[in-house]
Amino acid sequence: MNGGLAERSSAHYRTDMLHDRPERHGTRGRALVAMSGGVDSSVAAALLVQQGYDVIGVTMRLFCYGDQVPNRPCCSLDSISDAASVAARLGIPHYVLDFADRFNRDVIQNFVSEYARGRTPIPCVRCNSLTKFRDLMGHADALGCDYIATGHYAVARQGALYRGRDPAKDQTYFLWGIDQAVVQRMLTPLGHLTKEETRRCARDLRLVTAEKRESVEVCFVPDDDYVTLLAQHLPADSPALTPGPIVTSGGEVVGEHNGYARYTIGQRRRLPGGSKTPMYVTAIRPETREVVIGPRVELYDHSLEIEDINWLSPPLDRGARCVVQVRYRSKPVPARVSNSATVHEGKLALDLIEPVCAVTPGQSAVLYREDGQLLGGGVINRAAVGL
């Protein structure tokens, strides 16, 4: 890294502080940067300042634990304070905007209702689609911003999104739901960096967030304990959290569970023992409260149906080929848009060229071109269409 920021040692702070230090005003247009208080968005803001953008940092307050959950690494007061420190270091304005009501409505409530329906949601997708790149975008417009930027590992180029350069960090899987018009205005300064390069950059710039540990949990779920969160939002007698049968695909009852919301497709934990081969959750049937288990072979699907589709490219026609990824960390596989006439309006069926393990309703199916361009995506409705 070069530029004045890195060269300014702490000894210079005193003179900086004493003089009227005008805030930086770049010439490449104004960019709103969503600053979570983590290292990625901190570096994103820093890079845009160096590149000559007129940067405004915003931290969204998404939820409030009150005093119940101390020491959260993300989305807490510490994070707001870290983002403010970074912004002050960079000489950019920083604001905290209250999104708690909308985030609750659009993300947390959906998270709860999806589990109640026996599905396994990804709140980050809705947060990106609805909170960051829709609601926050509205504020960017109101502030006269030309661009919106985040610390995502993805590459926005000429109105299209591509996978980030670091395959271990690529986050395009969570970005399929963004409005295409917004993609034209996205800046993704970390898209060509690896995580290690980002950290090095933060260290060079002496950002307070440089050594912050990665948050891997869902930000609004304390201690990764989503069942407690569900119990706070659902009635005590909700089927999702009350006992039901564990059955085999043949219909044999082999045990009891304490709420199907505790299970997801592919799970092995909390299943009855005693069978010769390892057993996995293969389906959840909320209407009968059944958790269906089976051997690994029963986890493989050859097709899937998706809904809530959003395109970031011209929609694929029937029979068109693409690459589909059905979980954040899963291997992308070749697929073909199904010719099936039974597919309903607003839905899309995909035939998988090779079978995929643990296709899970509620997770996203994200469609890519071979070169890593994000074409679009949707929420998995069910696996094995027509089987």
Binding site: D20, R61, C64, G66, I80, D98, D135, A142
Partner: protein, 389 residues
């Protein structure tokens, strides 16, 4: 440099030139660095300055100098008053119990919580929709015989002023100590403590033109308070530690100026505040002034229902106007201001509340600048929220 409109004087104020003049010798002169506790001449000189400051603070407020305990600011003074009296009560074999109003500054509310976590008890006195603590509720709570009742003189978010004289006399009748946080009262409403004998009073320097880091607790007698800090016995042991000489000198000058100029300053800020409220009310539909019935003149707390206070603040800052949100959300503990909630303000109104706070330095041009941008800002925020403009 482009003009900045500063309407956040309840948050802090710039150092007054008179204050600066008074403290500069203590920065510059070779012989004014002493420790006030030293018996030699270098110490004595500075001790004289500290005691002179203590007397000046006491005189201008109408209270004996022996009761002025300098602290690091309002927060420490509030903690000392609430926790210190609660701890001292146990020495007199009384229950460790305190009572506070629901609209107190967090320094008092959290101090009351600290009393509870130390094994004591705390009662809360509610306010009505105009933000006033009712004497009847106070009488009821005093039936529990707390060691102390704390009700702030002027609320920092709304400017609502309590009748501290009446509350003090209710407490006196029942032999309960009364404490009032007067941080927003000094220089804003008449503060003659000779009318309030036996009352504990918190004051702060940086709200009235002194530097940050100095305040005082005024106490009727030292034995009433169990110290929270322990050390060299300074200030009768109530608040040990080498005195913040520069802060103390600054505080004395600032308090004197604030009290002497109070009437003129109040007239000035009231005119500006009323003008701002009047013009905003005509320019923007559906707005609401919180706690308007009985207020100190320097604070205006206005809700713009349908809009979002954090967004309004952001746009005001972009327009180089500094004020603050009525929301306490940056504390992370509650979504909206505990003060407005205690007054029964609806969540929609509370989340859209903005606090403008004036000083003698503000002008009609400052009001003009706010009125010029506010209607558009509110409309933008309302439309982003899908609310009526």
């Amino acid at each position: 440099m482009e003009h900045i409109t500063y309407l956040d004087n309840a948050a802090t104020t710039p150092i007054r030139p008179e204050v600066r003049t008074a403290i500069v010798p203590f920065l510059d002169e070779r012989q004014l660095f002493g420790n006030p506790s030293s018996s030699h001449r270098i110490g004595r000189t500075v001790r004289a300055a500290v005691e002179d400051a203590r007397r000046r603070v006491a005189d201008v407020l109408g209270t004996p100098p022996s009761g002025v305990v300098f602290t690091s600011g309002g927060t420490e003074a509030d903690n000392l008053a609430v926790i210190g009296t609660a701890l001292a009560a146990t020495r007199r074999n009384k229950r460790m119990q305190v009572a506070v109003s629901s609209i107190e500054h967090k320094a008092v509310l959290d101090a009351a919580s600290a009393v509870v976590s130390l094994g004591g008890e705390s009662q809360t006195v509610p306010v009505d929709t105009s933000g006033i603590v009712s004497p009847d509720h106070v009488k009821e709570v005093l039936g529990q015989e707390p060691a102390i009742l704390s009700v702030m003189w002027v609320n920092n978010e709304t400017g609502v002023a309590q009748d501290v004289g009446e509350l003090a006399s209710i407490c006196a009748d029942r032999s309960v100590y009364f404490h009032t946080d007067a941080v927003q009262a000094v220089g804003k409403v008449p503060c003659d403590l000779s009318d309030l004998p036996g009352v504990l009073v918190t004051i702060s320097g940086h709200k009235i033109g002194a530097p940050k880091g100095i305040g005082a607790l005024i106490i009727p007698e030292a034995t009433l308070i169990e110290p929270l800090l322990h050390g060299g016995g300074q200030q009768l042991g109530v608040r040990p530690g080498t005195e913040n000489v520069i802060g103390i000198v600054a505080l004395a000058v600032a308090v004197e100026l604030a009290v002497v100029e109070q009437q003129d300053a109040s007239r000035h800020t009231r005119l500006l505040r009323d003008e701002l409220e009047g013009r905003l009310c005509s320019a923007i539909p559906n707005i609401q002034i919180n706690g308007a019935s009985r207020r100190a003149p320097h604070i205006s707390n206005i809700s713009f229902p349908g809009a979002d206070g954090t967004a309004i603040l952001m746009h005001l800052d972009q327009a180089r106007i500094c004020c603050s949100s009525g929301s306490a959300c940056n504390t992370g503990t509650t979504s909206y201001s505990h003060v407005l909630r205690a007054m029964g303000v609806s969540p929609d109104s509370a989340r859209s509340a903005i606090r403008f706070s004036f000083s003698h330095d503000n002008t009609t041009e400052d009001v003009d600048r706010v009125v010029a941008v506010m209607p558009e800002i509110v409309q933008k925020s309302r439309s982003l929220n899908g609310a009526a403009p």
